[in-house]
């Protein structure tokens, strides 16, 4: 026994360090694009999630009927060869012929009908299924390459939904295996097919050489390898050392570290996400925020250009109205506007009866801490003492939904689904628990606008809403998010007009 022990302790000194050759470092040499993202993806199929990182996969594995052109944001026919609204509630799709799924199944009307039936089956529990697909009344196959979709009510934003998250499934394959098969073994018509994945850490996609000629360019890079790297500093280190060619979830603050790093290119583009300061207008007694002059004072006290350009990015949009200019129907020429004016702010505080200010709690998701601190600084100048509370996103969301927020920095929207203003005005002015304003007029105008197909009518309604918001200073619009795309200089990647990158469009620079 003792011998055994001695022998085994001897092994402790011989640390078995088996060193193999260093892994091949990135790039063009092996025709593999290595991409880093921050969060893991639960489903490679974007029907289940709404995170930008999972849209990444859904977008290139599947094709949608309508494609959002990344250069212009324009909608173009993809799997549909054309589409026509025959009335306010009916749209007819002509389908592209000669397209094959990655498993060889031919694409036709049966696939589209099958996919839409799945969307309409509320037992499937897709994410936001009721909001996004609850309005579909029926889907009908007219012939092998024509499909008619009927809505229950007019829905001017229906195309956004189709372009962002409705990848068409092959009916035979999906029927045989259940739609959940796409979470692990997805089959679409898209430019890349999933070859293998270690869920939560690494995904390998290979080029679909048979991809059709359409509005989206044929893929050129042979293999895309996506890795989840949760720590942004590690991503930056990988970029600097050439371990990855592209990082898609860095913020512009993160990217400052990379400025001047050899071989790395940082580009910024507009995003549809926007941030505003939410105030509890409808709160009960003893609520200084219920006073419009106080809210106006707050609006005058914040030096938005300094805040946004200093802390977010010099390229970020400073918002005058409560929408992102990259959104459709975002009207920015509304009166009044609140330019930084400390004297006016102080006077308003005085006339509102708060010459010495008051205490208020500002909640924000943890990554918004710098913005919160800056707001804290601005508001202290007019006597408002801000207690900043930063929380993890779920905890913040929980309290915000419950109506427990006095003041919050709210970030909202992403990608194609926020391409229209209705998305960001939606839940904050609809009379629900996330509506801290409770202005009945606005609620009514919004509801009408979201069921009106006529563009000028919609515009008029949104103008009314945005004007009222500014007049009453219900919220303080802050900034539009900036999307940061970091690539190695071996990679050519055109910055998309919206933050919904299609990495199948990346190519080698030479």
């Amino acid at each position: 026994m003792k011998n055994r022990l001695i022998r085994s302790t001897r092994f402790l000194f011989l640390v078995p360090l088996v060193l193999s050759a260093a892994s091949a470092w990135a790039g063009q040499a092996d025709d593999t694009l290595r991409v880093a993202v921050t969060r893991e993806t639960d489903f490679v199929d974007s029907i289940h999630t709404s995170s930008a990182d999972s849209d990444l996969f859904g977008t290139i594995i599947f094709d949608t009927l309508i494609y959002a052109d990344r250069a212009t944001g324009e909608f173009k026919p993809l799997l549909a060869s054309s589409w026509t609204w025959t009335d306010d509630k009916t749209v007819v799709f002509k389908l592209r012929e000669g397209v094959k799924f990655q498993n060889g199944e031919p694409f036709n009307a049966d696939d589209v009908v099958f996919t839409f039936r799945q969307l309409m089956d509320m037992d499937n529990k897709f994410r936001q299924q009721q909001q996004d697909f609850g309005n579909i009344a029926s889907v009908e196959k007219i012939d092998d390459y024509t499909v008619k979709v009927t809505l229950k009510q007019p829905e001017p934003t229906f195309e956004n939904v189709l372009a962002s998250r409705v990848g068409i499934w092959p009916n035979d394959y999906t029927q045989a295996n259940g739609h959940m098969v796409h979470a692990t073994k997805p089959v679409g018509t898209g430019p890349y097919a999933l070859k293998s994945m270690q869920k939560g850490s690494a995904y390998t996609l290979v080029k679909n050489s048979d991809y059709f000629d359409g509005p989206r360019a044929k893929p050129t890079i042979g293999t895309i390898e996506v890795r989840v790297i949760p720590e942004t500093q590690t991503q930056i280190a990988e970029l600097m050392s050439g371990g990855v060619d592209m990082a898609l979830s860095l913020t512009s603050a993160d990217a400052t570290a990379l400025q001047g790093a050899p071989g790395v290119a940082v580009q910024t583009g507009q995003a549809t996400r926007m941030y505003f300061l939410s105030m509890n207008v409808a709160g009960k007694e003893n609520n200084p925020l219920g006073n419009a002059d106080v809210r106006r004072a707050i609006s005058y006290a914040v030096n938005k250009p300094e805040l946004v350009h200093g802390l977010v990015s010099p390229d970020a949009a400073v918002l005058a109205t409560n929408c992102n200019p990259s959104q459709r129907f975002c009207i920015t020429d509304v009166k009044p506007v609140y330019d930084f004016d400390l004297a006016k702010a102080k006077a308003l505080m005085k006339s509102a009866g708060y010459p010495d200010g008051f205490n208020v709690t500002l909640m924000a998701e943890a990554s918004l801490r710098p913005i919160g601190e800056a707001l804290q600084g601005y508001l202290s100048a007019i006597g408002i003492k801000v207690n900043l509370e930063t929380l993890p996103l779920p905890a913040w969301r929980e309290r915000y939904i419950k109506g427990e927020s006095q003041m919050s920095i709210v970030g909202w929207g992403s990608g194609v689904s926020s391409l229209d203003i209705s998305n960001s005005l939606g839940i904050f002015f609809n009379g629900s628990s996330t509506d801290y304003v409770k202005d009945k007029d606005i609620t009514a105008w919004n509801a009408t606008a979201s069921r009106t197909m006529d563009k000028s009518e919609r515009e008029a309604l949104y103008r009314k809403t945005l004007t009222r918001i500014n007049e009453e200073a219900y919220v303080l619009p802050l900034y539009g998010a900036v999307a940061t795309y970091v690539t190695s200089d071996q990679v050519k990647f055109a910055v998309p007009a919206i933050d919904f990158p299609d990495i199948s469009q990346a190519a080698w620079a030479k």
């Binding site: 280190a237 603050a253 400052t256 300094e306 805040l307 802390l311 801490r369 800056a374 804290q376 900043l388």
Partner: protein, 293 residues
Amino acid sequence: MADTHVPALPDRRLRLRRALRHGGFVFGAAILMLALVVAIFAPLLAPYDPVAQNLSARLIPPSWMQGGRPDHLLGTDHLGRDYLSRLIYGSRISLIVGFATMVISGVIGSTLGFVGGYFGGRVDDVVTYIINSRLSMPGLLVALAVISLVGGSLLTIVLVLGLLFWDRYAVVVRTATQQVRSADFVAAARVAGASAPAIIWRQIRPNVFHHILVIATLEMAMAILSEASLSFLGLGIRAPTPSWGLMIAEGRTYLFAKPYLIWIPGIAIFLLVLATNLLGDGLRDLSQPERHT
């Protein structure tokens, strides 16, 4: 006071002399005292308000580096706040976290240890069982989970750390109490009719106190490091009160571009933890001969 304790004096003087010869102890005590003084007199020492921001003076490097300015000795952070002032005020939070956690866990752990060690038998079985249950819970994971659900404030962090990390006290105090329990003076007190709490407080506590002190320093160091780790994972104490852990967490974004932003608070934490550990080591060394006599 000296009059009533005449016989103790030479012993004390001797102990003091030994303590002053112990390099680690002196170094540790000096740094800790310095941190304490800085924390107490922070408003007098700090050149600026630690939360006053100046967005036009962001990310100025320390004065000895290129681009540094003499009016910001350690430079400024991403919001243009004076880094030296933040460091000075940050000592408060880090010390409060360390000290409060040490006290809370000390009270819980020592009480369990005393009770288990003194009574033995069934009572001890229960105490051992509680200790084992606690030991088998992954402390940092539980802290992370709870704080992420409740949100991090100074109070929650101190409470969570204090309620979790009492195990070392319990283990050590229990063993030490077992050793002292059978000593003559304890038996004498028992015969004289003293109650159990009285015996624990008057006879046993003074004799195991040096153990508690040693653990206390270790716990304090551990709490300061844990707070830093929690901050790193985004679950630390919220602004505007700077803690050193928070300074590292905020500066991390600039790890490669402005490394001093994380080196400065990093070194501060390192020194404070090192000092606390050295103090503990010193206390252990200094108390050892006594145990033998």
